[in-house]
Assembly symmetry: C2
Homo-oligomer: 337 residues x 2
């Protein structure tokens, strides 16, 4: 590990434990490798540890059952489970004993998740940051900053072009579908209007369209499948959706990546004469790898906040930008202000 004299690295690197080793967990492994002030203390899984192959040579893989016994060897847990079943249970349970970061993204249930994690973290004197990533996460920060800087204005969030995991799952559950993916695509005309600062009112259908690439099961009725997809409540009925039928080979070859992104635009007036537009944009080759990079940067902040005695549940709104950087406050002022 290289210790730059401009940094506030401590002699001991921050010890990150990864809980769960799907796309997100593998992304955390890759992200820690890019951050010289951190090391992976271990990967924890509910599967058979012998079956799990870490990306990094020499990284230890353990069963979840041994996590509590390793408490003294871990600074921050990065939880890589799902928001539906894993995190609502895991985050409060583990926050009682460990500082942690999760990517809980069920917007409607954030207040309740916050409350249960906060109670556990306050009692355990740990620091637990929930809902990190890009949305919720970086996009949320930009919604707050946009409102604060331009109180007389409107905020717009566009997603894509990108592969939506939830919508792809929904497509694959349709009878007759053997495989498929769904892309969310912002509509250019809407984006252009928003960027011009006129603050349009836009319907759901006017903001995004959806495009599906579907492999049919043998004998399935293409038109029936198409109808089932485009009329699916909540997922597709409020959008213009195009369905393309392709072969299994093309699906594997052309649609195996997980690109995503989008933008948050705040447009507002500082006076009657003057419009101002703020835009934050992400263009991601890999949605899970970027999400993991955000989790890892927030793990650094969480470690520092716990050391400073700031216990309890936190969100990205509670973290000063400087805490995310390995550089010292003086180096940041000198180099980046």
């Amino acid at each position: 590990m290289h210790l730059d004299s401009n940094t506030s690295h401590q002699a001991r690197p921050i010890r990150i434990a990864i809980v769960g080793h799907g796309n997100l967990g593998r992304g955390v492994e890759a992200a820690v490798a890019k951050n010289p002030d951190m090391v992976i203390a271990g990967i924890y899984t509910r599967r058979d540890p012998a079956q799990l192959k870490p990306l990094t040579v020499g990284v230890a893989v353990h069963h979840m059952d041994s996590l509590m016994g390793h408490k003294g060897a871990i600074d921050v847990l990065v939880l890589c489970g799902g928001s539906k079943d894993d995190l609502p249970r895991q985050s409060p349970e583990l926050a009682a004993h460990f500082s942690l970061v999760d990517s809980f993204d069920t917007h409607a249930r954030i207040p309740e998740h916050f409350a249960s994690v906060d109670a556990a973290a306050q009692a355990g004197q740990t620091t637990a940051l929930i809902s990190a990533g890009w949305d919720p996460g970086m996009f949320s920060i930009n919604r707050v900053l946009g409102e604060a800087l331009l109180p007389d204005g409107a905020t717009y969030t566009f997603w894509g072009k990108g592969l939506s995991q939830g919508h792809s799952d929904a497509v694959r559950r349709v009878p007759g579908v053997a495989g498929g993916v769904q892309y969310t695509i912002p509509i250019d005309a809407a984006v252009d209007q928003v960027r011009s600062g006129v603050r349009p009112e836009l319907s759901t259908r006017e903001k995004h369209r959806r495009e599906c690439f579907v492999v049919l099961e043998a004998g399935a009725d293409a038109e029936a499948v198409r109808q089932a997809i485009v009329s699916m409540p909540h997922y597709f009925d409020e959008y213009d959706t195009t369905v393309h039928f392709i072969g299994a080979e093309e699906l594997a070859r052309e649609h195996g990546a997980m690109p995503h992104g989008g933008f948050v635009i705040r447009s507002g007036n500082t006076s009657d004469a003057n419009k101002q537009v703020i835009e934050y944009r992400l263009q991601l080759d890999s949605n899970p790898e970027f999400t993991s990079s955000v989790l890892v940067a927030y793990a650094r902040a969480v470690h520092r906040m716990r050391q400073a005695g700031q216990f309890g549940c936190k969100t990205v709104f509670d973290v000063a930008p400087g805490l995310l950087s390995p550089k010292s406050a003086a180096a940041l002022r000198e180099q980046l202000l």
Copy 2:
């Protein structure tokens, strides 16, 4: 004042005093009018207060000499003077007695300004935030976040298209020039390359070009003026510069506004296979009004940090996003996370 039940507004609004009433000071007046949790406690000037016309009916104008006597009636000063002569003296002097925000933007002298303001604010138990605005300011935050989220990457800052005050002043100092303005313009080819994620190495000339609109004095030699401008060291010699000669009437009609903006792009890899690009972009009809809006949002944060006992000099790197918003932490989590 409207008190929303979702906000953490206190019964008493934050009392902002404006020091200096140029473009920035007028922008602060306009910004406070957009923030219902704030009021203007007064405008302070070194000129004759009777000669100064506030934008807002009923706002009191005082001479600087009376500022110390009003200490109990002010929560935060927003300093609207210049970085060359005013702020290096004013900020430390006033930070001994008041919480404040300034927009000090002489990058090379930030460490020394920080040190003198910090000593005064620590002694006076005040909170003083320096170098707020958009660059330094919002752009700086995005440079720090970009590095922290994508440590294996490169950061690019582009300015414009916008009117540069410093370069316009330099043009107007050239003998034979009666008036003029200068626009800084990012070069599309460079921006496109950066957005593609290839991390190009770009020279100064490749990133921006400069365009001047100049009114000649009677009898001045246009070619001599053009040469003097395009060869001016530091300001123009490293750029491709175009000089247009126009009439005084056209200058007044077409070039009286102060638009600006630009973007910070971080491009990096989270793994060999995956590039990720983050872009933060501002498109401003009025540079001073936007800067003032940033100063006012940070005044809110400074007020809260002082109430929390966080004394000393701060920068935008030390301020959690939630502190900038009038909404409570719970409301932010519920509405914007």
